[in-house]
Symmetry: C2
């Protein structure tokens, strides 16, 4: 079968690899849609970062590069290993790509994103930019009938935002700022809205696809930080009070500073961005204003909630987020390179089967 | 009456000032013990920092320097203004020194430490290094019969630690690290123990009064960061897991780094130290390990709990924390300068009446 494999920085290759088979407790999925994630781009451009080298193979999965990328995906079950029963053959599934060591305190509590041997498909084991993938049974979530496979492939990035919003403790009536309107920022916006936030501000540079998507997905105001002062705007529109919650998905110093500056006394800033180096944090401000700064990683129990919310919101979310569909054979130039070169035009590019035009046919029962 | 007044950096003066009287809703207290706080030292050495100048008088209190310092105190009620009824004349009281604008969202919620017009006695209005002080009725807490005035004067710094431990969400069985064994660090240790922590590590430089007090107050292990690696020690003693909570009261980069390094995945770091400049925070670590970093300021509802806990723990806490008693007339050299010059020998210096030897007589009914 074909697979898109990472061999090192700037070295992605479309290769022919053996088709995997489902061992005990495993499910074989025919991949239909798999989104290109910022993390994939990051590994491609500046990695290997999270992806282990062969000298440091992952202790839980044994994975190391060369390795197939891809962890935001949905498809159809084509084979079940013995004991695997999360979904019947032929059914449509979304896959939560986190492994579980099953042995640490966090796995015992169901906090799989905190597993001391944290590992994910597409980073620490072969991922889903391929025709087929084999995954542990526990990763598999059946997709409700009303949810398309495209929407299901978006569940992963939206679950990251859902977890960030949940970790911030959002509740009905809360106000929020999201910095950055990439997939995680938009996922945070979607989650904040779904969980009852009354007003959500979004900051995003320029007036391209991302700012537009934020408006479509219910941002009350989108602020361009190169035009307007984000903190001043938020304070002005909240009668000087500030917002209850800020979620920073931009991961640059001005965005973090805006997040801290925009929350009320006692407010919460969630950081869900991948920083390259250390950030400067004004701990004196955190102290005198009793602000909490919470790191957040992936998701633990959010997949089911996001899948359920997709039953009504799915079409609008696909419409707002998916800016291109590309076939696996063309995914390097038409997916990865396109996202790097024309960042302003894109939010989420979905990679599909080589006959991508037919991919929607997989949604037929 | 005599009062110790701040006129600017390195300029404290013992002056004769008019004795105040209690207006409507106010209580006049004869001060018996008032502790010298790190904040007082900070203002003396490098201020004015929190203390307003006359051009920027505090909007709520109108206070500015010259101003009487002192906000950790207990004494006896000697006069009640009309409508004041928190404690009868002659009764012993501790004073919670935070003003309340009464009008902001936070005051309405009882989160007085988050008041948008935050103000404290001794910083934004005349404090308690004086023979008498007049305070709003709502600041007054009657002292249980079994609690001495010395113990009551320690309630304020311990309440800061109690609030930090509460904000960290400490519960029975939790493990913790406290960096710094000054009054706030020791207050945090006391609170963590009282609220059920099963193991508490403390880091403190050297083996002087502070390290000794930490041991006396129940630290399971005191680590000298100039001798042992704090993170390695904590990880070693927790089978690699790390602690649930770290409270940083040291406010220096290595202590913050140790706090972040010593907590488990999903753990909480509380920062209750006063930083001079920005800190470096490795947000990538906060993210991949889902660590929360919470600023914490003062206290909101902890005075009553700390006073109640003093009924049994008071004598041991006074014994461990109070390293000197000095008369008001001698407080500049014998209190402030002594704390600066012989920092290693002291934890808390209490300033008492000029006949300090007799101060304990105030505890007689």
């Amino acid at each position: 079968m074909k697979a898109l494999r990472f061999h090192g920085r700037n070295d992605l290759r479309l290769e022919e690899v053996p088709e995997p088979f489902a061992g005990p407790g495993e499910v074989k999925v025919e991949v239909v849609w798999c989104g290109v994630c910022g993390t994939d781009i990051h590994e491609y451009q500046t990695g290997p970062s999270a992806i282990p080298s062969s000298e440091r193979a992952h202790p839980l999965t044994g994975g190391h590069f060369p390795l197939t990328l891809g962890h935001e995906f949905a498809g159809k079950v084509v084979e079940l290993g013995s004991g695997a029963d999360a979904a019947p053959i032929g059914s449509r599934v979304a896959v939560e790509p986190l492994f579980r060591c099953g042995d640490c305190d966090f796995c015992r509590l169901g906090e799989f994103n905190r597993c001391v041997q944290f590992a994910a498909l597409g980073l620490h084991a072969d991922g889903a930019f391929a025709q087929f993938i084999v995954v542990p049974d526990y990763m598999v979530h059946p997709i409700p009938a009303a949810v398309s496979l495209e929407a299901a492939a978006l569940v992963e990035p939206i679950a990251v935002g859902w977890h960030a919003a949940t970790r911030a403790g959002v509740g009905p009536g809360d106000t929020a700022l999201v910095t950055g309107a990439g997939p995680i920022g938009l996922g945070s916006l979607i989650a904040l809205r779904a969980l009852g936030a009354s007003r959500v501000f979004v900051s995003e540079i320029g007036n391209g696809a991302r700012a537009r998507a934020a408006r479509e997905l219910g941002a009350d105001r989108v602020v361009d930080p190169q035009v307007d002062d984000v903190v001043a705007t938020v304070l002005d529109e909240t009668q000087g009070a500030g917002v209850d919650i800020a979620i920073d998905t931009a991961g640059v110093q001005p965005a973090l500073d805006a997040a801290v500056g925009a929350v009320r006394n006692g407010g919460t800033v969630v950081s869900s961005a991948s920083w390259e180096g250390p950030a400067e944090v004004d701990l004196r401000t955190l102290l005198v204003r009793e602000i909490g700064l919470l790191g957040t990683l992936a998701y633990s129990s959010e997949f089911a909630d996001v899948l359920a919310s997709m039953e009504s919101a799915g079409p609008a979310i696909v419409e707002a987020l998916v800016t291109k569909r590309v076939a696996l054979s063309e995914a390097i130039e038409g997916g990865f390179d396109e996202l790097i070169e024309r960042k302003d035009d894109h939010i989420k590019i979905l990679v599909g089967p080589d006959r991508t035009a037919d991919a929607r046919a997989f949604d037929d029962p």
